[in-house]
Symmetry: D4
Subunit: 208 residues, 8 copies
């Protein structure tokens, strides 16, 4: 399967040393790779060690991509409820890029101000798959799923405090959604949402 | 405090014998009372034993009210997301009646079909307090709270299956709501929501 | 949107009386409808009352469909880990039928006997979307997602006892999946999985 | 709706950079705003960057308010169980100020010393809405709700350790309260409690 | 250790057959015993089989006690918040009797009507250990512990619905209590509370 | 009630500033006080500010006690399962001292090496109340309660990792104990255990 | 792998119809099989339908075994804390029989009476693997593991009420055990424990 | 019992001071010991203080072993799903060494790439006990248990985020496994897994 990378490293649960060891190996083998889930401290250390690689701090990503991935037909929309969900949205966007998927972002159009959704109705309707990121009560995918007919991939975000802390409240909401056909990925899992969109768009291209 | 009843019995966690014992005492003391949380089996037995009392099975209530409560100024709206939440809505409505509070019901106008809310916008806007009952992902109070400026009392309903079962998903959603100023009562607690609305409307009448 | 039904009733959290009231209305309005989530007791009562409707007990469904839905291009595979997940698989299949989606079933090919998956590799590879139902440890979608490139909609099943009871163990597994791009719906939510597959297949047909 | 601010930023789940970006925009647009949920570290950085704004560290707030909000009729009481709940109380008080609501604070009058409540009985009785903040076993709202007839908005506080840690014990207590008509907001949600009080007091002013 | 019984059977998690098998053995060995945790169905069957034993349905108990236990100095108070907690209170009282402990009951003096506690202040103060049973928000032991200096054994009751269901809300409240020195037993564990009171009173009698 | 202190401050959930403000007040009013729940960082700061007070870092305590509390008859044993529970044991011991209660410590005699308990059998049997502290699976109180007849106050400790982390596993074990009459306090609540022992020993002294 | 059966059916999560369908197939194919997890109702129906098969109600098992399994060297001990765990112990014993494993049962020797374990010390020491079943606080495996050096397979039992209900308290205890090297299977999983013992004993026989 | 060490210290829940105090004692008594659960900070401090001891940072271990343990017959395989589980694998390996058990490691052969397991099939089949470490959805032990007949000891790893965080998702999966006879230890409990393997291999050597 030809993607924009040969390997993907999940950097969150690894020490900098573990990441460096794997990175060195891929570098030597001249493999394209992407490393996700990096916090600012890890990025600072890795930047010094690998000045030749690309770093996108707001997405928590380090990458070394030398070739352009084949373009996938269709388009994905990334929709977020607030500005606090930005990091997940940026991760999702970066991964979609590496997968050759076009995407457009609609940030901070959450449920409390429902008019903002209608404002972008036409643009959203033109996408083939909708990735909806929301923390707190996670109601946005339900509302989006009630208005639009496309596949909806919902991503619970871990922003929030009290019962919203950690994203469980949003996760349960999304799984309970009364708008039929919404699917859900793990909390903060921008990578998984991008991969799901990629699977969907690829599936739409094969002969049927 | 002059209410439409002197005593309230919570019938759900009591055996029929325990309820009958308390009922007999109130009957003898000629006290007005209301008993909530009754299932069909308990109502059948109690109906035979107390044909002189009033029974509202769809609300799970038995009552003996001889006097009319003083009318409270203002009006409450009872709004539900689906038809499955009806029992809670009926309990709420009955208690409001006994408390002397006028109310209007808006049933099955949940979030998946957001236009239904706009359809009743004017009527809802005329109420002074909004009681919003919803199960599953419990998003309705957030949407209502984003559109209307009145006090919102949210009631999570225990309808649903999987992660929605028991009403916890709706409860967490409502507590996490990004629409500021929504307050929440216990799952299925129509009685508590009615009492909260009563407290709010009474408070609005005192001199300030 | 032209589906195989005009209305859908969720029968699990409704009393037979509530279902009958809605059914009568749809019958009178000559609307095609489908009612899901019915147990054997409810089906027995409804069958007597509505002999003219179709009942599929193993799927928990009553329906009244007079017209053939437009055929959707592509095909869905329904894959289950055990024989205990059958009811969810049957519900999914029925809904897909009503939505005009072709589907094929692969029952009881769970992870403990991994060779069974390879046995059906070619047939599964021909589907455009894979619905994977599994209870207990819910590992099947991960294995499927590691072998096949199509969209995977994972459905946790509530079969099991001890820590598997209720389907939470399977749900968490599926959300945690290390096979990128798997999406998840609520426990036992065959209806939602069918709707998600429908959204995906429809999306593949629009111009991009 | 004319409030004491045009915009509100929730600072807890945002980086300082994200907050600064939004702040700059509001500053340039000459909008009044309030930013909540700030810890000491964030306040120190923001103070250096925006010496012209007002900071209330004990409430976790930065604000830029140029105009006086219209006065709301009525009064709110802020009642806390201990001194550890102070930050939530201060946030609540600040927001009420910005909303034009008069309030009085009754700090550290928790249930273990029940006489302290009776000591302030007359003052509390003069308020139109009671905001009650309590951590640990969260019993204070029940006791308050049993003595006073006004609307009670209960705020669980996250203070405590062991089973009290995070405020869940208090939250469940408050939702379970046997004193009818108590309503609850998210753990530590002083902002939400203030908004709820505002909704209630406004509602009391409209013609009915 | 000389108690009012030689053996105790926990009947809740046993089938009637298992109980009968153990009972037969004790009967044959002429041992005094007590069997707790029996529901009405089990009591009906056992009553027919063992007409010679004593049954206390409201306490869920069957017993065969031939000798009088030695009297323990001191007195225990059993205090309950509502009438729904009666079964636990009756079980506690029966066990205390069999242990030779005097006790007095104070039923339905919960926190929502705090005056009821003060009404019995003198009688309660005369007891040497206080067993306090409460469901829902479980606030009664905290209030009792704040007023009285004796040992307090708190018993969470499983009465209630929504978040109170099962007694977890009361359990957490009691463990979180801000009234120092309250101790807690398992939900509905009247037997354990009686044994704890027995241990305390016995301990008070030994030379120190 | 004459204790070894007039006031107690819970330092864990307060900032150093909040603690200092209360301390200053007590200092000025010449009140004896004890402050618990202090970590090393807080103790360092407070030590510099109040060199005249006594600090016990291993117990997390700062105190200012000028008078000797009246001696309580009887003796408490503090028993721990491991050396990791030491901090809770030291807190308990300090509070008992301030309450005028004699106590003896039996450290690291956990269940995995059951012979260690028998080694101290005689000494433990001489105490009038047993405080048993254990983390991980929390089995020690059950074993102690099965061997000794005195009141047992069990304290779950938060030591451990995986499912033992936070002390919940130990807490549930202790509440589930099959040794009748064990009572439990909050996780890490050495203060509460000491107060409970004090209540018990005092109760043993009053006329009965 | 030659076992005492060709197929195993998990009967708990299947309807009688589903079980019968599978049974008919195995019967026709002349396969030896065992069906576990059957309650009394299901056994009654199946007994009528298959009088030729063997039923062990106290173990919840139906089986059709025509050939004797090859004998495994070594012996397993089944140890239970109470009499309420009997069903799990019987299931375990039956499965071990079908696997060709000798076993001995030690029933009701729980932790509260620790002497009972020492009474059987010699017999237990002669077994090669110890299966320990316990509900409530689940402390027995820790004590057994501290005394004996053999492999310990711990089975949490779902008996109990309050926090013990469902077996979670016992499960957490066993996983937290401070006696090194104890392993755990799912709640009530007698089948799994027997299979684990079988794997262990077989492993001991192969050349190393 | 002759092991490679006389004493084992669990370093995670102890301060460096507590560890040093115990270490000093063992050093003076000339006891062989091993200390587990050490993070980098603790290792740095201890290394300076005890330059004569051996430190294995990647396993979190400090040890002082002067004598060679007797060799145990048989071999253990340590199998991990990813590279993030390395620390647990290293701890397990170190403990096995000290116990005199031979072991071989198979790192990063998780379920998403199932072919990697088949690649090592022959080597794994030669081991007598399989220790399988996996985080996230923890499916690896099920797959391993379905392919191999040896005893499987599953170790959930705490790596991951969202619902995988802390290892609960993997733990539940492993306990729910549909591959019969898999046993489980606490999250991250490499020590316990090594001890379990040791118990199993020892048991295989005794006469039966
Ligand atoms: N449906 C209900 N939900 C919640 N609380 C209720 C309900 N009905 C009655 N109550 C409360 O229960 C109290 C009576 O409880 P009890 O003495 O147990 O009958 C009343 O004072 C009410 O506060
Ligand atoms: N089996 C099912 N599972 C989940 N949701 C369903 C199911 N059947 C119907 N629904 C949803 O429930 C809605 C109808 O709910 P109601 O108005 O309460 O009957 C439909 O619009 C569907 O979105
Ligand atoms: N302290 C707070 N607690 C809860 N919600 C808040 C708080 N402060 C602001 N908000 C809400 O958060 C919204 C702003 O979120 P954001 O766009 O992420 O800054 C506002 O509209 C408020 O509804
Ligand atoms: N009592 C039991 N507990 C756990 N698993 C079981 C039990 N009985 C059978 N099984 C497992 O369930 C599988 C059969 O499941 P099924 O195909 O649904 O009947 C068998 O291969 C066993 O691994
Ligand atoms: Mg926003
Ligand atoms: Mg509806
Ligand atoms: Mg199967
Ligand atoms: Mg205080
Ligand atoms: Mg009452
Ligand atoms: Mg130790
Ligand atoms: Mg027993
Ligand atoms: Mg890997």
């Amino acid at each position: 399967q030809r993607l924009g990378f040969d390997e993907i490293i999940f950097g969150m649960s690894k020490t900098v040393d573990q990441i460096a060891k794997i990175t060195d190996k891929y570098k030597q083998e001249k493999l394209d790779f992407i490393c996700t889930g990096l916090d600012d401290r890890k990025i600072d250390i890795l930047k010094k060690r690998y000045p030749e690689f690309e770093f996108i701090p707001k997405a928590g990503i380090m990458k070394n991509i030398s070739s352009v991935p084949p373009k996938i037909k269709g388009k994905a929309a990334i929709i977020t409820a607030g500005t606090s969900d930005a990091k997940v949205a940026h991760e999702t966007g970066e991964i979609l890029n590496c997968l050759g998927v076009n995407c457009e972002k609609f940030i901070d159009i959450g449920v409390a101000g429902i008019h903002r959704i209608f404002h972008f109705k036409k643009e959203i309707a033109e996408s083939n798959v909708l990735i909806v990121i929301a923390g707190m009560e996670g109601a946005l995918p339900t509302v989006i799923g009630g208005i639009f007919a496309q596949p909806v991939v919902a991503v619970p975000a871990s922003v929030g405090y009290g019962v919203s802390a950690g994203g469980y409240s949003a996760l349960l909401s999304m799984l309970s959604s009364c708008a039929g056909g919404i699917t859900v990925v793990n909390i903060d899992n921008g990578f998984g949402a991008a991969m799901a969109a990629f699977r969907i768009l690829k599936s739409g291209q094969v002969e049927k």
